[in-house]
Symmetry: none
Subunit: 224 residues, 2 copies
DNA sequence: TACCCGAACCAATTCTGCATTGGTTCGCTT
DNA sequence: AAGCGAACCAATGCAGAATTGGTTCGGGTA
């Protein structure tokens, strides 16, 4: 007769874990199977598992299973939460703080082909026949700069920022048949940014981007 | 007999889109159905769709369908996705790019009580009896700087960055009984940052933060 | 009485097979 | 030469079955 005290079950469970040599984060057998193979009732096994979980040795989730190690972080950057808490002014503030430094990284790390893509997107924006298409290529240009930073984390943060921006400025899409005037302020500002990146001049790129965003901010106030 | 030249098909397709009044981002009928309802072969329809896609009017994806508007950017606000794609070096690069500008905003916007909190957290970090507690107060200090920027969006981005950082440097927690030495490099660097913020000197705050993070980065390399 | 086992059930999740969809190729017709 | 129809491919979506941790209840056992 094998004793099935709490301590005994727990001990046998630990033995099993040590023997199984599970990779970190690996999955244990289902409770039903494990109970049978350990010759223990399910409730007793669950008590032992609860102890291990309290110790942080394993973690469990309904429908998924029981896993070794600690529960992986599940925090998604909740864009909706940010949207509800912020406003267009804050968004511009964040852009002015963040994007110039992204541009600086891009100047230091962009590949030649990425610089060519920047130029292409810039030209497409200039030649856009409608405001909507202009904004589309403007967005593409700013994201390409993020890609050129060669830092996937910076790019991820930039995407988050843009997602919030789009959500906040919802419904402000200008879909008029009018096209941006040939002397639109952004055109020269874009050119300065791209030139600075092409010249590998990080500080100039950051300055140009900052100036561009400030100019956009000023225009935003005027429109209201 | 209806003419089925490329231009005619394209025109009829545009008509259909205008008539259908699809909501932005709405899905078009499958190519097979649409081809039949327009009395056109599938290949001809696909040629017209390719044109619209080049214009950015629609976007398509195998298995999904054809949709109006622009292809939504693969916005990975999911921190887990970022973690799998990045590495400690990138994380430091992003911190060096981002946090100095947050400090600059904090210098311009911090309230007196927030500055007092900064000083308090800084002292707690200096007096921490273990490395783990030091890191806890160090984290608190950096987040307080984010709060002091008075920009909830910047704060949200900073939180995202920190979540990724914690996940990437997983398992590097120093839980030794040893305490940080009294001349630890971070102490003076923290002081410079907080002083600059208290003096409302944005540029100095940004510089001090950049210097601090570079110092941390250098120390990180040494440890390896 | 106190505890454990077995069974049944619940809700969250995963798995699986099938239908759908854009992309491609191949004869055939016009 | 170009479009049409058909067939096929791979990626995706979808619905239902199977799985899994969490919970409850009755019965047995010490």
């Amino acid at each position: 007769m094998i004793e099935n005290t709490d301590a005994a079950v727990l001990s046998r469970l630990r033995d099993f874990l040590a023997t199984a040599q599970l990779p970190d984060g690996g999955r244990l057998p289902p409770e039903r199977d494990l109970a049978e193979s350990l010759d223990v009732g399910r409730s007793a096994l669950r008590k032992a598992l609860a102890t291990l979980q309290a110790e942080g040795v394993v973690w469990r989730h309904v429908g998924k299973g029981t896993f070794t190690g600690e529960r992986p972080i599940d925090t998604v950057a909740d864009i909706n939460a940010m949207v509800h808490r912020t406003n267009p002014l804050e968004v511009m503030g964040a852009r002015i703080a963040f994007e110039p430094e992204v541009a600086r990284c891009a100047a230091l790390n962009a590949t030649p082909s990425q610089i060519a893509e920047l130029r292409s997107a810039m030209l497409k924006a200039q030649q856009a026949p409608t405001w909507r298409l202009y904004e589309q290529w403007d967005n593409r240009l700013h994201r390409l700069i993020g890609e050129a930073s060669q830092n996937s984390l910076l790019l991820g943060l930039l995407d988050t920022l843009n997602a919030v921006r789009r959500a906040v400025t919802w419904g402000r899409l200008r879909d008029t048949p009018v096209r941006p005037p040939p002397d639109h302020h952004s055109f020269e500002e874009h050119a300065r940014i791209v030139d600075a990146i092409a010249n590998r001049d990080g500080s100039a790129a950051a300055d140009a981007m900052r100036r561009h965003l400030r100019s956009v901010e000023g225009h935003m106030r005027d429109v209201r």
